[in-house]
């Protein structure tokens, strides 16, 4: 497992300069407008797309075929991709939290809920996309990833619109957020990811890598 994660981190090191410059630009821009909403989303998007990039690299040279011929089992190979996803999205989320704390202070409670919603969105989207990658390959799975994100975002936006139309006061919504919205979201994302892992293992066991 350590070797596989190390391999992916070496691959990501190659993207370092490119993403570093984008990050620097977004950082300066976000500081100037004192809002980190867009940057948060961008960092988490990059976190999840990096996993796909490593899988695309692996696919191009049939790395998994080699890995299975080495003393690694298919569960370890699948698990390493989920772990990398948690590392990159977790890293992205960590940076976002730090930046929000540093530049906007603790009073921006609404942005925190938005942040949690974004992370959950990506957990769910990638939870669907990862088994699709193992089944159909990276290129097709990219569409699955974006379609899932659009679907989840549409359902969330629809929920807000319906609540608005039903005349639910904003204070009630805030109460809803405060009473476990964040934990609920992350639990949902975590559950989707866990189910996703078992589905991926099943796909790989049946189809091969």
């Amino acid at each position: 497992m350590k070797g596989l994660i190390l391999k992916d981190l070496y691959i990501l090191k190659g993207y370092g300069k490119h993403y570093g410059l984008i990050f620097l630009f977004l950082l300066l821009w976000s500081i100037s407008i004192r809002s980190f909403n867009f940057m948060t989303m961008y960092i988490v998007i990059i976190g999840s797309s990096l996993v796909m990039s490593t899988m695309s690299m692996d696919e191009a040279v049939s790395f998994n075929r080699f890995a299975l011929a080495a003393p690694l089992d298919m569960r370890t190979i699948v698990k390493s991709k989920y772990l990398l996803f948690l590392i990159t999205v977790g890293g992205g989320a960590g940076i976002s939290i730090l930046l929000n704390l540093l530049f906007t202070g603790k009073d921006s409670s609404y942005e925190w809920y938005g942040f949690i919603a974004i992370v959950t969105l990506f957990l769910i989207a990638n939870g669907v996309a990862l088994p699709a990658i193992f089944k159909f390959g990276v290129e097709k799975a990219r569409y699955v990833n974006f379609l899932t994100m659009i679907l989840v975002a549409a359902v969330t936006a629809g929920g807000f619109l319906m609540a608005d139309k039903a005349g639910i006061p904003e204070e009630n919504m805030e109460m809803f957020f405060k009473r476990g919205f964040g934990i609920g979201c992350l639990m949902l994302g975590g559950a989707v990811l866990l189910i996703s892992y078992f589905v991926s293992v099943r796909i790989v066991a049946k189809k091969g890598l």
């Binding site: 350590k2 080495a70 003393p71 089992d73």
Partner: protein
């Protein structure tokens, strides 16, 4: 005799192809060349040996370990070095990255050995894989396969697409590897001349069936091509005829026991009915492969 690989009744079916009840044993301390045309079943056999694909039936034993797909303990693969027809490391990695990764995958990784190969092959550690030539990439793959405690090398077309100089260097390495008679190499290749240079045994697979596994020297000694007329060819004993090729001017027949032909009255009888004496040539591995494939196409 100890065996590095034992395969019994291996059966695997795909759409339009099946590996049909293959059985063979690879003696320890030998190099076995696995030949056959494209799509004959070489890669499927190798994938089955490594547990990369599920097999429908059969029993596979590698270094005394019964191979089962989806097994959690893959530690037996520490002793198996594998190189496929392409370098399987992501191209953005540097050579020194590969060393660090492998150190964390193989418990028996021998860093000094790997560095020794890199020096011998003049592969710079700081270069990215995409900057290496095809020959260097394959040398890197083979070096990785040999830099852990591998007692068996399984190579799937690992010398294909390389120039003769690089191939020769790699073949030298294989000869050194089996010197102690404890190491075994099972290699598939389209380049039959490579197989002829290093292999002790030849295994020929055709359309998913294992046609034979024979000692190379005996095979090259016994197999021959008889060039004659169609009428003369009919005089050859049917049980030794492997393949036949007919043109307007000549019939050439691949026989598996040329000495039996020489000792028989074939030449005298042939000369009597056609007035000319048939010619006999030695057959090489490529001839054997071509005659078998072509004969089947003519049928």
């Amino acid at each position: 005799m100890e065996h590095a690989i034992k395969v019994q009744n291996l059966y695997k079916q795909y759409d339009g192809f099946k590996l049909d009840n293959i059985s063979f044993e690879i003696p320890t301390g030998t190099i076995v060349g696995f030949v056959g045309e494209n799509g004959a079943g070489k890669s499927t056999t190798i994938s089955s040996l490594l547990g990369l694909i599920p097999v429908d039936e059969g029993r596979i034993e590698v270094l005394g370990h019964e191979v089962k797909r989806d097994e959690k303990d893959g530690s037996w693969k520490e002793q198996v070095g594998v190189a496929f027809d392409e370098c399987n490391f992501p191209t953005v990695l540097k050579v020194k990255d590969v060393q660090n990764i492998m150190k964390n995958i193989y418990h028996t990784w021998d860093q000094d050995k790997f560095m020794g190969y890199m020096k011998r092959f003049e592969i710079p550690l700081n270069k990215k894989i995409k900057e290496l030539s095809k020959g260097m990439k394959m040398k890197l793959s083979i070096a990785v396969a040999m830099s852990h405690d591998s007692r068996l090398l399984i190579l799937d077309e690992a010398t294909s697409g390389l120039d003769p100089v690089v191939r020769n260097e790699i073949l030298d390495l294989f000869r050194e590897y089996i010197e102690d008679e404890q190491h075994t190499i099972f290699m598939s290749s389209h380049i039959t001349s490579d197989i002829e240079k290093v292999a002790d045994y030849i295994m020929l697979v055709h359309k998913g069936k294992l046609l034979f596994m024979e000692n190379k020297d005996e095979m090259l000694y016994n197999y021959g091509i008889v060039r004659c007329t169609g009428e003369q060819a009919a005089l050859l004993p049917g049980d030794i005829v492997i393949g036949k090729e007919e043109t307007r001017f000549e019939t050439s027949v691949l026989v598996k026991d040329i000495n039996r032909v020489k000792e028989s009255s074939f030449f005298e009888e042939a000369e009597r009915i056609s007035g000319s004496r048939p010619i006999v040539d030695r057959a090489n591995i490529e001839d054997v492969l071509l005659y078998i494939v072509r004969s089947e196409k003519q049928m």
